[in-house]
Amino acid sequence: MSEAPTAIATYHPAIREERVALVDLLDRVLAGGVVIVGDVTLSIADVDLVTVSLRALVTSVSALVEGMDDSREDADGR
């Protein structure tokens, strides 16, 4: 414990070499941001649905790649 690093990573989204993590960006541009429905675009509810299905998609893709990990027992660990 004594030599545990102060685990802090700081980066500026504007700096190109250190790319903004896609998942952080999507949290913001889909869940945040002003929801003004343009006259062409999807309704608010639709975008929420897209977000949900997207998460499912990402989860299933990475599950295929990584196989089982021990996140399972953490998931509802009691």
Binding site: A7, G33, V34, I36, G38, D39, T41, S53
Partner: protein
């Protein structure tokens, strides 16, 4: 004969933003330009109807590569403008069929947007995530292997496994308590806070589960103080691994109508 492009809206800024030198390329390869009405300026760009019309959009949003490209282009334009002046960022895929329709939105929501610009001026968003830190010695349950050799390897394995699980549970409980303390402290330093649901370990691409996924709206004059506080909290709470990102445009602090505060 090409069809009329749709109008993608990135953000809204004050009127002076019309001086924003356009010419950078945004979503869908469209040039970015200002569009002014009602004393406000929308930062917009033309996008092809065939790619960004309603039906196409619905499909493309499900395509991860397309989504990533689009989200990054959207973000980059907003970042560029946000460096110069306060902006109200639009959610991804806010598209109008014409300039007139987008200008109509500015007129209709002028009062709300102006208020939001004032509230967000001189402030930026910072993202803080906390992961449950499970150090190897705790997780692997390194108790000596001396006990009761007659019980056999199966029992030893079960014992070790139980110790492991207990260690995980303890680490998690400690981490949750720490996460609350971290949030309380950072909340105090910020003008607003917003909690996102924790990202699942697979999405977040990390092994530990997430105990906190928060955004804070912090005055730019307090940014250093905020960063220092995160560093200090990271040192104080060994049960957590903290990550800090920012400054972001204030995506998380504009509500459904551009005015709503997070608290």
């Amino acid at each position: 004969m090409t069809e009329n492009p749709c109008v993608w809206v990135y953000a809204v800024a004050d009127d002076a933003a019309s001086a924003f030198t356009a010419g950078s390329i945004g979503v869908g390869g469209g040039a970015v330009r200002p569009l002014s009405a009602a004393g406000l300026t929308a930062i917009v760009g033309g996008v092809a109807r065939s790619e960004f019309g309603e039906a196409a959009l619905r499909q493309n949003l499900e395509d991860l590569e397309w989504l990533e490209r689009t989200a990054r282009a959207h973000h980059e334009v907003i970042e560029t403008v946000a460096r110069e002046r306060p902006v109200v960022p639009m959610r991804l895929a806010t598209v109008y069929s014409s300039d007139e329709a987008a200008a109509g939105m500015l007129r209709e929501r002028a009062a709300d947007l102006r208020q939001a610009l004032i509230r967000l001026g001189g402030r930026s968003e910072w993202g803080v995530k906390a992961y449950v830190a499970i150090s190897d010695d705790r997780a692997d349950g390194q108790q000596p292997e001396t006990a009761d050799p007659s019980a056999g390897p199966g029992a030893a394995y079960l014992r070790r496994r139980r110790a492991q699980l207990a260690a995980h549970r303890d680490a998690r409980q400690e981490a949750m308590a720490s996460a609350q303390a971290v949030h309380a402290e950072l909340d105090r330093l910020s003008a607003s806070a917003r909690l996102y649901p924790p990202q699942s370990p697979t999405i977040a691409d990390r092994s530990g589960s997430m105990a906190l996924n928060a955004a804070y709206l912090v005055g730019d004059d307090r940014a250093e103080e905020f960063e220092a506080a995160v560093t200090e909290l990271a040192a104080r709470h060994g049960a957590l691994q903290l990550t800090l990102t920012g400054p972001w445009p204030a995506y998380s602090f504009v509500g459904q109508d551009g005015t709503e505060d997070a608290r």
